[in-house]
Structures are given as structure tokens and as C-alpha cells.
Amino acid sequence: MARSASPNRQARPRSSPRASHLDLAQRILDLARARGMGAGAHLPEQVLATACNVSRTPVRAALDLLVDQGLAEHESSSGYRLAAGFSPASTISGPLPDAAEADLARRILRDRAARRLDETVTVGELIRRYGAARSAVGKALARLAEDGLVTRAPGQSWVFAALPDAPESQADSYEFRLMLEPAALTAPGFRLDPDRAAALRRAMVAFLAEPDDRLDPRAFQTLDAAFHGLIARGAANRFVADALGQHLRLRELPGAVVRANVVRLRQAMQEHLGILDQMEAGRFDVAADLLCVHLRLSRSQRPQAANRGAPPLFGLTYRVGGDG
């Protein structure tokens, strides 16, 4: 029987694997080892998707990666199996994500967040700015497009998506999360990953133990993303999980970085722990209520401007760079 890539693999050109696919492939290998699976064992997509709390699409990409590595095989009739050469000691040896391509994508985003790049850019402009080859720029843009951060416009132009780095888009971002995150918690079938929850609790408690002058806003942002990611991944509805996951990735971009004073960072982290308490106790409805409060406090309004001597009325806007 012919052994080949999945139909999905045949249909679209392969770009370098994304870090998230590598991570998922690693988890699938860990799962196979933990379940004592040997060479030739069937790797059912849906079972893996459920076990890893993701949809089948990324699972398929991760399995394709294992096929590329020689650790799995694909048959069009029966799906994926562990390869004949698989052993519990097998590891992923590469290829790692194209570091240069990832770095170029990162620099493009950094410069867009800093408004060094306009909303619309051309490939030629990027080639000149970064001294990169056309192919490298193309790959970096393709990577950003895959995450929904740029879309192709007529000609050689690309348009950046709105990033949650301005007051209006941050307000929209909070509204979006207020609609979906509590609903993810209260919908039937929410699953808390207990290992991740325990690890996250340890990290959040350690963060709070730091003195004010060492309370690193970037560490906060990492933990904040992990905490809200835990909720997104636990959603039983895959579309909710995907939408929240993609939105949370937007919040990790440069320019969307958390800028709040240390007191608010501590408050927000305490709120995370309170929500986690309820989640671990299985009281997801209470956790959802606390989550609403947490998100509302994080998006609290701030005056856009006020100054000594300015008239008593002033406009309102959302905090620039809120936490949550």
C-alpha cells in the first residue's frame, strides 16, 4: 500500500514548521510513550486532538511533522501510525523553525508596533529596509499571514491587521474576551489541564513573592498569557478555543505589552489565583464570575487627558496597555 502524506499535505506547499506544531508533535510523542505505544501503533487524530485539547487541524500538522522526521507514517486508508523505527527513546531532531525567517517576522511586527512601518507595506519596501532576500521576506510575510497578522493586498502590498496596541482596539479586545472567556468556562465540557494549572500556580505565587522593584512586567505578560491560554485551551467548543487562542497570540505581540503599575500587576495576579482556586475546585460558574470582574477591572477607563488648568470636563478612553 502506498504510503504518502495526508491529502492536506499534498494540497498545500509546506512552510517551515511552526513552534506550536513542534510543541504539539513533542506532546504527541510524550503521550505515545506514556501510553506504552510501540512501532506501528495507530495514532487516531481525534483521540490526539481531545487529549491535547486542540482541534484536528494542528494535530494533523504535528503528525505531518513526525512523518517528516521519520517517526510516523501515513496511509491514506488508515491514517497515521508510529513508524517502524519508532522507539520510546525517539526524539524530534529537526528541522527547527527557520530562525532567520522567524526573526525577520518578529522585526517586521516590532517595527509595525512602533509605527516605523505603515499599515500597508510592499515587499520591495521590506527587502530594502531589512536587506533581506525576496524569498525571505515572502516567507516571513507568509508566516505572519498564517497567524492572521497580515493579509495580501493588490500588487505586491500587504496590510497589517489591527493590533491591540491602541486604546480603541484594546477596548474591542476586552469586549471580545468578556464575551468569550467566561462562556468558555461555563459551557459544558470545559476541561482544566491539572498539570498546567499546578505549574502555573507555582509560577504565579513565585511572581508575587518578588519585591516591587523586581516585578518584571514581561514575566507578568508571560504568566497572563499562560493563564488565559489555560482557559482558552480548556474550552470544549473548538471554535471558541481557536478564536481565543488566536486572539491571545495577538496580545503577545510587541506594542500590546502590558504597561501597568506594580500594584495593579499584583492585584491582577491575585485575581488570577482566585479564579484558579475556583477552577481547580470545579466551580466553573464562580470562576467565570470572577473572570468577568478581573477583565472589567483590567479594562478600567482612564482619562485621555487632563491637565492643571484644563477645563473640568475631559474625555475618556481605555487604559493604554492594560493587563488582564
Binding site: N261, S300, P303
Partner: protein, 429 residues
């Protein structure tokens, strides 16, 4: 166990006053007090974010339209390009009218709130008196978070004049115009005071010194020699009231090494996008790295140079501490933060006491003034280069910073405030 004394802070609706009070409130909290904040409508969340209870005064009148501030800026930006004396009729007098409106509008709600809160001390950081505070039945503290010029003296240049200390002729001319222009607002305010049972204030004044305690945010290095020295029992000079913030991680600059320059013009200044755009374009030609505070207007900028980084909010004291130069509008809070961290100031004043601080920076060798309406890229680059390379100034500023940090203004302020609480004078004092 005795209840914690309630200290009601009532800063005006500006970030400078608000954050000064946050610094003092945190020091008071560390000494066992329960600070709470009375806020103007809309100034929501600032104090709660620092962990303090907020009480909001209700809004007076209709809420502002979406383009209220755009209109405000369009109306006043041309005035900010005028000399201080020419701002008297165009900006200062109308602003006093608005401040009087604020005081009148807030009175009833403030009186009701104070009656409910029953604070042990009220701390007012504003430029106008609210009669409800005088009648609250507890001691009140005036925080002078503007330049020292806010407390008039024959040997001190007039408030908002930007005059040099020895400009006697300019002083007479400025005062004559000032008193004439603000007289209608002041008359109206005095009638309001009379109705509330308070005595009239002398011409040009809207806020009397507190009979209990007055705190001036005027570091020693900036202080004037007064013709009539202030009574130390009632007037305490603070070496600033600089609060602590968390650490700031420097962003990656695609290009640029050299001195780090922090640029922030306050919330009003951030709205002057045209000036900021011009400065940012000029920064491209200066061999330094610039952190620029653009408030809520990041989307207004494009083609930002590789040695410039924009953000809407910075933990300012932490950033100033890392900077080699602070370019600001002369806000007293900003100026004090620069001095507290030994950083020279390049001041482009807009209005109010920014003019006074800009002139004082030159007089005291702590910085330099640049006219916001008349500068070239060459002027700006030369001023930056001069300030970052002036080793004598830097050494003096470093020494001064050590002295300021050794006597934190927030601690002294908290101790003096708590000494007003009945029964705590001895313990605090």
C-alpha cells in the same frame, strides 16, 4: 485597636497632582493610615490601580462630546505658542473661569461626601479652594504641586510668568495685566466664597494657605530666597514626592546607540501631535535613543525613525532613572522626577508653571529652556548634545539626587500629615 486614621486626598484632575498624592498616600499607608481618594468625574481607576478606595464626585452638566478634546486643542494650541504674558488673556484667564466653575459645581457633592467619609485630615492638591473642605471639621493640608511661584512673594517671580528672578520691570508689567485679566473670575469666586461663609481672597488669589499645613514640592536646588520666609511650622518644603514604580525593560531599537533620552509632555502635551511629529522627525538626526510618550495617540504617527520608540504609558520614575536626559513640558512633577534621579531637563513649556520651571532650570543650572514654537532641528540637536555632555552639570545633579533620595519628600509629607491627626502628633512627630 484604634481605627486607622482616614486621610482623604483630593487631587485636581491632572496626572501630576494625582501621582504626587499617590506617592504621599503610599507613605501614609505604610505608617498605618487609610488613604482614600476623592476624584473628579471621569478620573476613574487611577487610584484604584494603586490599591486605594476611590470616591467620585458626580459629573456636572452633559458629558463631553467625542471630539471635545480635539476642539479644546484646536482652540488653545495657538495660545501655547505665545509668550507667558500674552497667554494671560488667551489661556490663563479663561482657565481660571473654568476652574471656578469646577469649584462651584463640586461644592454640594463634596460637602455631602466629606460628611459621610468623616476624614481625619483632608489633603487638597489643587489651585482653588473648595469651601466644603474648610467646613469639614478636620485639619486640611494644601499641597503646592506647582512650582514654588504658586505661593507669592515679592522676591519670587509671579506665578505663570516665566520671568527671571531679577526682572523687576517685567514683574510689574506681568502682574498688572494678570490681575486685570483674572479679576472677573476672581470676583465671581469671591462671591461664591462669601456665599459659603469664607472670607474673600486678595486680588489674583484663588486658594489660601492652610492654617494647618502646606507642603511645597520644591527641592532645595530650585528654591527661591524669599523676602518673607515661610513659617516652617505651617510650610514644609519637600524634596519632590517621587513615587516608585516597577522596573522598565528597554525596548530593542533597530538602530541607534548613545544616550537615552526620555520625552514626555504630560497628557495635554501628548495631544499636540504636530509638535511631537516635528520633534520625532528631528530626533532621526540626533545620535541618541529616544523613548517618547505619545499618550493615546500612537496611531497618529507614521514613519517613526529607528532610534525612536513610542509608547502610550511608561512607568515614568523608572524610565527617568535610566535616562541621560529628560525632555518635558516643565510640569513640576516631571521636573522633580528628573532632579530626584540626577537627570538634566530640556524644557519646552506650554503654559502655566511650566514657564516658571523652564526659566528656573536655566537659573539653577539644572537644565535648559527651548521655545516650543521657535526651534530648528539644529537648535534641538545642539541643546541635547550640550546637556548630555555637560559633565559639571551632571556631577552637580548626581550630588543633588543623592541628597534628595536621602530625604524622601513622600516620607516627610506623610509624617507631617499624620501629625495633624488628633492623638498621633507625638507618635508621628
Amino acid at each position: 485597636m484604634a481605627e486607622a486614621p482616614v486621610i482623604a486626598f483630593f487631587p485636581e484632575a491632572s496626572f501630576g497632582a494625582a501621582l504626587n498624592c499617590v506617592g504621599i498616600a503610599r507613605a501614609a499607608q505604610a505608617r498605618g493610615a487609610r488613604p482614600v481618594f476623592i476624584c473628579h468625574p471621569g478620573f476613574t481607576g487611577i487610584f484604584a490601580d494603586y490599591g486605594f478606595q476611590e470616591y467620585h464626585l458626580p459629573a456636572v452638566g452633559a458629558p463631553p462630546s467625542a471630539d471635545y478634546w480635539q476642539d479644546f486643542i484646536r482652540r488653545h494650541l495657538p495660545h501655547f505658542n505665545l509668550t507667558p504674558i500674552d497667554q494671560i488673556e488667551t489661556y490663563v484667564a479663561p482657565t481660571w473661569e473654568a476652574i471656578v466653575d469646577t469649584a462651584i459645581g463640586a461644592e454640594a457633592a463634596l460637602a455631602a461626601l466629606l460628611a459621610r467619609l468623616r476624614p481625619d485630615v483632608v489633603v487638597l492638591d489643587n489651585v482653588v479652594m473648595f469651601p466644603a473642605i474648610a467646613r469639614a471639621g478636620c485639619p486640611w493640608v494644601r499641597v503646592v504641586s506647582c512650582a514654588e511661584t504658586e505661593i507669592a512673594d515679592e522676591a519670587v517671580p509671579p506665578y505663570c510668568s516665566g520671568l527671571a528672578r531679577d526682572d523687576r520691570e517685567g514683574r510689574a508689567r506681568f502682574l498688572a495685566r494678570y490681575l486685570r485679566a483674572v479679576a472677573p473670575a476672581q470676583d465671581r469666586y469671591n462671591r461664591f466664597r462669601a456665599g459659603a461663609g469664607l472670607p474673600a481672597l486678595p486680588p489674583g488669589e484663588f486658594l489660601e494657605p492652610s492654617p494647618h499645613l502646606n507642603l511645597l514640592l520644591a527641592p532645595s536646588i530650585l528654591r527661591h530666597d524669599r523676602a518673607r520666609p515661610l513659617d516652617p511650622a505651617r510650610f514644609a518644603f519637600l524634596e519632590g514626592a517621587v513615587r516608585r514604580e516597577g522596573p522598565y525593560d528597554l525596548p530593542e531599537f533597530p538602530k541607534g546607540e548613545g544616550p537615552l533620552v526620555y520625552v514626555a509632555f504630560g497628557s495635554l502635551g501628548a495631544m499636540d501631535v504636530a509638535l511631537m511629529e516635528r520633534m520625532i522627525a528631528a530626533f532621526a538626526h540626533v545620535p541618541a535613543r529616544f523613548l517618547v510618550n505619545v499618550g493615546a495617540f500612537r496611531d497618529a504617527y507614521r514613519a517613526v525613525p529607528d532610534n525612536v520608540h513610542l509608547e502610550g504609558w511608561y512607568p515614568q520614575p523608572s524610565v527617568v532613572a535610566m535616562a541621560d536626559l529628560f525632555i518635558h513640558h516643565g510640569g513640576n512633577n516631571s521636573f522633580c522626577e528628573a532632579l530626584y534621579h540626577g537627570v538634566p531637563s530640556l524644557i519646552l513649556p506650554y503654559c502655566w508653571d511650566g514657564h516658571d520651571n523652564a526659566t528656573r532650570a536655566g537659573e539653577t543650572g539644572t537644565g535648559m529652556r527651548l521655545d516650543r514654537a521657535r526651534w530648528t532641528t539644529g537648535d534641538l540637536a545642539a541643546a541635547i548634545a550640550a546637556l548630555v555632555s555637560d559633565q559639571a552639570m551632571r556631577a552637580r545633579l548626581r550630588e543633588n539626587a543623592r541628597a534628595m533620595q536621602a530625604s524622601p519628600g513622600v516620607d516627610l509629607a506623610a509624617e507631617r500629615i499624620l501629625a495633624l491627626v488628633p492623638g498621633r502628633a507625638k507618635a508621628a512627630g
